[in-house]
Subunit: 346 residues, 2 copies
Amino acid sequence: MATIYDVAEKAGVSVGTVSRYLNGSGYVGRKSADRIAAAIEELGYSPNRNARSLTTKRSGMIGFVVSDLANPFTAEIARGVQDTADEFGYCALIYNTDGNAHRELRALNTLREHQVDGIIITPPEIPEGNAFLAELIAQGIPVVLLGRDMEPLVTDFVSTDTYLGAVIAVDHLLELGHNRIACICARNAAFSRRRGYMDALTQAGLDVDERLIVETELTRQGGVDAMTQLLKLEDPPSAVFAVNDVTALGAMHHAIRRGVSIPGDISFVGFDDIVLAEYAQPALTSVAQPKLQLGRTAFELLHTRLETSDPIEPRRVILPCELVRRESTAVARTVTSRLQRSSSDE
Amino acid sequence: MATIYDVAEKAGVSVGTVSRYLNGSGYVGRKSADRIAAAIEELGYSPNRNARSLTTKRSGMIGFVVSDLANPFTAEIARGVQDTADEFGYCALIYNTDGNAHRELRALNTLREHQVDGIIITPPEIPEGNAFLAELIAQGIPVVLLGRDMEPLVTDFVSTDTYLGAVIAVDHLLELGHNRIACICARNAAFSRRRGYMDALTQAGLDVDERLIVETELTRQGGVDAMTQLLKLEDPPSAVFAVNDVTALGAMHHAIRRGVSIPGDISFVGFDDIVLAEYAQPALTSVAQPKLQLGRTAFELLHTRLETSDPIEPRRVILPCELVRRESTAVARTVTSRLQRSSSDE
DNA sequence: CTGAAAGCGCTTACAG
DNA sequence: CTGAAAGCGCTTACAG
């Protein structure tokens, strides 16, 4: 394959001039430029970025480390990262770790060997991983954390405000006139979503009815179990907020099987906005995380570090969730009848 | 950052010896080895692969070009590619093109500049892309085509046998005793699936009833439309094969709304095995493409080219589909009653 | 078993 | 505006 020397020779100039032409650094005479362009064309010359990186100390590549690329949520983030990197002229080296400490360490190490200019990583639970990341940061390789905070690490961090997402979801139900709103949640996870639920109620001046908060597995079956329990109540809820979609779907389908009309009798809101939410019958109203935006932001954060060697204070970006309204939520029954009455009054 | 020179100096040997130690090429004395190991440890030395690639002409990176990484189907393939590449000590540079000719060309070009050792690409419809790929192949960069054949290109190719997948689906219905099997298909796509349907029937000695073949849009609504038409028949089918899941789901849900019991009255089989199939009510039996395997195979094909410079005849690997049996298919009614009769005879 | 030296393809001051 | 030369970090024959 042709090198910069071949081009220089064919154009009758020195390699330095060709290099300047290629990089737009320093002046190149009109005539030389034309001849270089012609030579490049003729030889089908393609510069070798690896060789270039040897002197510039910049590879133009970033690493993106995830635990499961096949997860649709991750895949969409990856797309956001890649698209944005591409816009800025960077390549993304993507690594899948399966949440395996060994693989993650190897990924990080290989990424360094390939001289990536920076790394975006979705959180591993792995202490060794964190230690290695700290080492990379110390060596001056910028790192951006995506999705979850990693305690001992001080660097940029981007994630989603799930607390506010829950508040938005419950507010939506409140606005529809619901005042008996149940929450299906987990014992050990998604606390901020649960907290959002409670705060939204309190904020609205409503008491939190402990019987309406059901802890369960965050699975389809967990949703079924929780709904079974809620339907046994003497005064069942008129709306249900579940901290994730799969659970919401399980609950909703169980209610349907029990003859409950949705959203006529009970409204449902889920969280995450997985594809299933859109295709459910009825389509499930859900809180969406801005996945693409998450990826974009992560790269942008990294990019400002890539472009400067000045120390930058660690930044934290928390993106808002968005409520996607579908068919599973409607005005509360009591309100409906009140509306009907008032309209018949006219 | 420490270089091989720093290591050599600290260990009191020459860089050549350190290099040999690092690569396991040529002998290194026991004593030297120990001291080199210690020096590497002490300095936290990490070799620079880009520098290495300058002499070896091998970057240890491959490129993977897709049109939409956020598509779950693609994401899973990507995972298969990355996992396998990792196993063999390669890194994957992933590029998203959105099916945009401009972006694809830039991706391919950048990949070459980064000196990837090979490229796996999911088919673009783009002539310019094909021309560029041909150029890369001519330059000795191995290319593997994944998912669809690209006419003018002669290189390795891996995909799925959707024709046989359709045959398997229909055979499954035949085995359950169905003989009036409808096919919901498209006018201009997925021909091999439709052909599989017809051949399976013919093979079983059944006539193809044209009224049972409904052309429609391959969308949820298309499925609804097709099902509406099928239910109007005086002698409706006892089973439906749809050439993709979304359509199958639309058809199935419409049938349910019309009071049809599934799989009691009608069995349904879809194609692609998307997540929705698993979570549908009832869960949809579907033909799955081996996505991970597709990615694995693509890399393996590439790998044999990576490891040799000998010319290799272009190979084509067609992976079989797999039937995932769920709740939407059951023994045909007539057969059921026959079975009941025979059992009451005893 | 090991060292000295050339070379991989590029960029970057430094002169001119 | 341009060329000569050194250097980036590594590997690879070649001697010894």
